[in-house]
Symmetry: C2
Subunit: 141 residues, 2 copies
DNA sequence: GTACCTGCAAAAGATTTGCATCTTT
DNA sequence: AAAGATGCAAATCTTTTGCAGGTAC
């Protein structure tokens, strides 16, 4: 899923130059599958790559976001977090632990698409929707 | 809807001291009904109130948030925005204009409650949900 | 009078920017 | 070789904090 070759292709496929920094950063977002912050990405990367500048990380995350390879996520807390873009999903979020998990549910998606098709919203053309479920995780926290 | 008396009561009702700053800030969030930032609140207030410290505004917004009188809202952009807490609603959001509007739809709420009652999510106990609809406003922007 | 608030200014973070240098293509 | 990326450090911006003085109850 997150092998080098694929990552390289994803970057190149968007017309971006394939640099070691971009490889490392995109790979980190794949590996750290808990919606990491820029800082967590930085720490993760530094284990293998001597030093990638923080500024570069931000700039790269921005670039990857613009190209649609990753998604920016924000919670009530104050830092930006990143997520690989895969198929449509919603977010489960706990205020207590600040943990975020992806929630996939095609039946739900279909139901909502159907609903919004029937119920147009005045003055608004929907591109996409995402449900933000708040609550508690019952496994460990 | 946003008269002084009611605002005073809301603050007092939560066991908070009624200070001119709190009055002004809560009133501002009522008046600026487009999910203002702390900064916009500050500017709005300064028209009538000589000077309320920025620190106080943040602290007050925080306090009002904890007491459930207002809600913190976050978008892909990077600043916190605030909203009066009324009835349950969802958010319409345009990436282009960074505009946010509330969207009320009881039928939708009922449908989703029903859905989640039938489809429990593994390891997660739902407290609440909110739909974030992205798209374009077709009135002016 | 006391507990709670506010103002102020400094501090803390997170993110952005400018520019010279280096790498992809 | 040209276009585009990176590193570094300084700058910016938002939000938080500490504390002395003030205000609501």
């Amino acid at each position: 899923m997150a092998d080098r070759k694929e990552i390289r292709e994803q970057i190149a496929g968007k017309g971006l130059k394939v640099t070691p920094q971009r490889m490392a950063i995109l790979e980190a977002v794949y590996d750290l599958n808990n919606h990491p912050t820029a800082d967590q990405i930085k720490e993760y990367i530094q284990e293998n790559h001597p030093s990638i500048a923080v500024g570069t990380i931000y700039k790269t995350l921005d670039t990857l976001g613009e190209k649609g390879l990753i998604e920016r996520v924000k919670t009530e807390k104050d830092v930006m977090r990143y997520d690989i873009v895969t198929k449509k999903h919603h977010h489960l979020y706990s205020n207590e632990s600040d943990r975020i998990e992806d929630y996939f549910d095609d039946e739900l998606n279909k139901m909502l698409e159907e609903y919004f098709r029937k119920h147009q919203i005045k003055n608004f053309k929907i591109d996409d929707f995402k449900i933000h479920l708040t609550g508690k995780f019952t496994d460990n926290n």
